[in-house]
Amino acid sequence: MAVKTKYELKLGAATREAFGKALVELGKENQDVVVCDADLSKSTMVHWFAKEFPDRFFSCGIAEANMVAIGSGLASSGKIAFVASFSAFVLNKGFEQLRVTAAYPNVNLKVVGTHSGISIGEDGPSQMSIEDLSLACALPGFVVISPADEVSMSAFVRLAAAHVGPVFLRAGRVKVPQIYDPGQKFEIGKAITLVDGKDVTLIAHGLMVAESIRAAGILEAEGVSARVIDMPTIKPLDTDAVRIAASETGAIVVSEEHLVDGGLGVRVAQAASLSHPCVMEYVGLTDYAESGTPEAVLEKFGMTAANVAAAARRALKRK
């Protein structure tokens, strides 16, 4: 597929909204789709599913651990069970249940965490999820996906449902720029090159994909040719895409709204170390953030195109 050269990056829907809508469509097509909620349906947007299919929606109250294990029981009996909450709650409070009732027995559970990262803004660090990818990736057998926009989220909800095995799908609270045109094809485990370039590769997931596209624009004005890759599947990683980026551009910057420790960056570094070691830089979090508007929080904690561009310059110097 030809790589687009211009992205308008017009603001689209939040990925949680795309998830909620896709879930309703999925529910219409497949009677086996069921949803469990822990008193956040209006935030995770599964309330649309609840309204449409009340018999297939289970209110668990504020009890994430119970919700995850109930989802595993439903999945063990042949249902395509989605359990949804904020990432911070479903991963942290439900981790033991994800491990023992889903990962270890390889149960077909679909886990959706919304309000991921720090862009939830005002609610602050107790609700922000910056460890979820590290936790989810630690579970053998789990597929871990962090879509960048509404089109990709819609597609990945379907792909997650079609995949046999446990999946963690990461969604955000705020509206994010549209990157893909409707009809774009996605695959679990496949990266997508959004901008071609030869000097450095900018890899990202979630809302940092749009920032990386913007960073490529900043770098282009400086005469640097940056490749941009969306890596929606954190696990299993597209190691071929990493190897090719490392060998063709010799420098990689990984940007993510997550702790650097345990995030996509270290997974990319591991893959590069096994195929084609290259200079790498990381744009991510190193500590808990704070309350503020989403824009202010993202800026203060270094989640902007300027931060990505700066990291690329550092990488180029070390090349």
Binding site: V34, G61, A65, A69, I70, G73, K79, E96, Q97, P105
Partner: protein, 273 residues
């Protein structure tokens, strides 16, 4: 469903299961005899007379489900499943050995006929509820049976599940508390009292049946009452004796998680006739 056996035959079956438990744990040199021996009659009645299951067709969608919440009592479950032909009896002695299907705690990767992998306490009732909900959606006659330890119910998730079951009027699930009064570190009342247990479950909206968990006619009648109870979940608070059937293990906290020596095994087998 199996035909009701006469009482003497069922008691003989229980003795055979107890012999398996003692022998396999002795051979393994580790394991949990006390809480395996306390649950023998409960599992014997379930598998012989209550549950709709078919060892020839373990994935039959409308089968009843059994989950051993207290996964450390795996030897009682393995022995019963083996006696029913799910797994080989002559391999029971490989318990806990590398490569054995009889893992330290129930593991579906090794025995696909197991409904859940358990061992971390407090999760089984929730998983069972998911299966109950699926059965309800499918208009399936499936019923779900979950055996919980009395120590296990100290886990908060059990009470999340208890609240959920009553709220959603899940009446195709039965929880059985193997109330043997002893947990790893000693007596339950000294570690974290769970009494008044029947009152707790009742206040959570469950139909509660209190019984002697070694009295086979009482167990039969409790499961019949559970099946007839509609609109709410049922729990059997089964008063049992840890280490039941082996004199020196009975009510002895030491045998929660300690294997008998060869000599103790011989003595136990002499008692189990």
């Amino acid at each position: 469903m199996q035909q009701t056996k006469d009482l003497a035959a069922l008691q003989q079956f229980c003795t055979r299961i107890r012999r398996h438990i003692v022998e396999m744990i002795t051979e393994a040199k580790s394991g949990h005899p006390g809480g395996s021996l306390s649950a023998v009659e409960i599992l014997a009645v379930l598998y012989h007379e209550v549950m709709r299951h078919d060892p020839e067709n373990p994935q039959w969608p409308d089968r009843d489900r059994f989950i051993l919440g207290k996964g450390h009592a795996a030897p009682v479950l393995y022995s019963v499943m083996a006696e029913f032909g799910y797994t080989p009896v002559d391999q029971l002695h490989t318990l806990r050995r590398i490569g054995s299907i009889y893992q330290g705690h129930p593991d579906r990767r090794f025995i696909p006929a197991l409904e859940a992998s358990t061992g971390s306490l407090g999760l089984g009732l929730s998983v069972g509820l998911g299966m109950s909900l699926a059965a309800r959606l499918n208009n399936s006659p499936t019923r779900v049976y979950v055996v919980l330890g009395d120590g296990e119910i100290q886990e908060g998730q059990v009470w999340e599940a208890a609240m959920f079951a009553a709220f959603h009027k899940v009446d195709n699930i039965v929880a059985i508390v193997d109330f043997n009064k002893i947990q790893l570190d000693g007596w339950v009342k000294d570690i974290m009292e769970v009494e008044p247990l029947a009152d707790k479950w009742r206040s959570f909206g469950w139909h509660v049946i209190t019984l002697d968990g070694h009295d086979i006619p009482a167990i039969r009648s409790a499961f019949s009452e559970a099946s007839a109870t509609k609109g709410k979940p049922t729990v059997l608070v089964a008063h049992t004796i840890k280490g039941k059937g082996v004199s020196f293990m009975e009510n002895n906290p030491k045998f929660h998680g300690m294997a008998p020596t060869k000599e103790e095994c011989a003595q136990a087998l002499a008692e189990l006739n």
